[in-house]
Symmetry: C2
Subunit: 323 residues, 2 copies
């Protein structure tokens, strides 16, 4: 395959600096889900850790390098999970962490960022406004800016999930990955396309935040004016060209799913797998629900990438009667 | 310490025959829970596996031995989790599994036992009636009876959880363990008392099913006429003398908690850790809620031992508004 920006030796090295609490996460069949989806389903569970998302795999790599020989201050924009992870990794190493987020971000994520001791700056507008503000802060103060999906540490940290999928006894026919900025998809995709090229790498994004998926299909950056989705973790509008280039090399497909499918996916994961997941983490199940024929009889693995939700909102989504 | 029936070399050997999907489960701090409990809290999460409880650690040991040189048929009584685990382990090895359960057992557990291909026999009465019937079946048909907590495989399989607690970087002041038949408590207790004797081993049982706890305090078997608790996984009435003897050697305390504390514990674990747990798995948090002073400022680990619930009932327990 043509080379992405990622490097497998560095991905393997990343495993050695990431706190083990974030590694070797559960990977198991959920047979109780399968009658509802018509295919064999395994989950790779990234929520059972101190920040309840996969993002710390990347921030551990970032923070380790900074603690060793970088500046002691770091800033990032975040919809909430990257910020929480950077706050955790930075606190463990005595770094000065600033997170910029949209005022409309999920409150539970913002609360955790504050609780972990990071400085939180809220901006009007959406995640793209937060990205602009974080970049401006970094320039003004001369501190390290962590750019999710652009910075290789975030992609290669996320790629360690891919190494763990390779280690599984059962080969998967397809892996379903939430697509936002692209770190998780390019990370896992890089590893799988190199070592298990027959496993289909399928990225899933909400119809209400389709910029990267459209860009992948058109093979050029396509931006959108707005997003409209409950999947806050993947709601970007400005795909990063370098990340798109990588994604074009490693993704076999990118699909868009409806909001009602995301909610149905969250409910299925709760009712039949006992998993509380945020909307982005239900995208894979949503993709199966929208195209059962494609997956019928195959074995898919879906990466349950995060579980940070506002509980009142979550209860509204999943309802009060069993599905 | 005086010797229990368990053997550490055999416990280490058990790790080699248990399917890795049940081993090295997540162990992590849940800081979001801590303001609500007044102490540092880590969870050992035994729900993220194909049977959503720790019980397969034991049934893997049982089934491995049977597949190698035992009879091909096996029967057990179960409130649901052991039966599900034995069905899983038996199916993987071509064994003929029969599970006897109370007609009033949690429906979701019974459904999974059937789905995993085991023969399920339901009896009137409670778990003790199921135990009698399973023993009668085993005698009649000459098949192996698996007796939870009495059979060393079930204790030593469960004890592998203890080995994993020892491997943790942070030493724990206390470990909180759901107490039912006693396999989990004697298993973890054996390992900790041998290798980390200063960690307090605290067993937790519902006030509505207090037989083993009363027995521990009185140092003799005390039975009860009935149980009255939502914690179906620990609702026994006839403690097993050999298991009590072991428990007397390894437990530092055994406490009883109220039903409303169990429900409050389930709600806290959902709202602040994103974990769907069955009532037995909330006993540890319930114990902290009932005696905050005892745990104030200490670091406790609670074993989240199972997550199989009927979702309608679970939704009633945890309510529709955030806690």
């Amino acid at each position: 395959m043509q080379r992405t920006r990622l490097d497998t030796a560095r991905i393997r090295a990343a495993r050695r600096v990431i706190d083990p609490v974030f590694l070797d996460t559960p990977l198991y069949r959920c047979e109780a889900l399968e009658p509802h989806l018509g295919c064999a389903v395994s989950v790779k569970l990234e929520t059972a850790n101190p920040v309840r998302s996969f993002k710390a795999r990347g921030t551990e790599v970032v923070a380790t390098a900074l603690a060793a020989h970088g500046p002691r201050a770091v800033v990032c924009a975040s919809a909430g999970n990257l910020g929480q992870a950077l706050a955790w990794s930075g606190r463990a190493r005595g770094l000065d962490v600033t997170v910029v987020a949209s005022r409309s971000a999920t409150a539970a994520k913002l609360d955790r960022i504050r609780a972990l001791g990071a400085k939180l700056e809220l901006v009007d507008g959406d995640h793209e406004s937060a990205r602009e503000r974080a970049a401006a802060l970094a320039r003004r103060d001369g501190v390290r800016l962590v750019e999710d999906s652009l910075d290789l540490e975030t992609c290669e940290g996320a790629a360690t999930v891919g190494l763990e999928l390779l280690g599984s006894a059962a080969p998967f026919d397809a892996v379903l990955i939430a697509l936002g900025g692209g770190a998780l998809a390019t990370g896992i995709g890089h590893v799988l396309k190199e070592a298990a090229p027959r496993t289909e790498v399928i990225c899933v994004q909400p119809l209400g935040a389709p910029a990267m998926t459209r860009s992948w299909h058109e093979r050029r950056v396509v931006t959108t004016d707005a997003t409209d989705t409950i999947a806050d973790g993947v709601a970007g509008r400005y795909p990063i060209p370098e990340v798109l280039d990588d994604l074009l090399l490693v993704a076999d497909d990118a699909v868009l799913v409806r909001e009602e499918s995301i909610v149905a996916g969250m409910r299925l994961l709760l009712d039949h797998a006992g998993l509380v997941v945020e909307p982005s983490a239900a995208l894979g199940v949503a993709a199966v629900l929208e195209d059962r024929e494609r997956f019928a009889g195959r074995h898919v693995v879906t990466v349950v990438c995060g579980g940070n939700v506002d509980m009142d909102t979550y209860r509204r989504w999943v309802g009060t009667t069993a599905g």
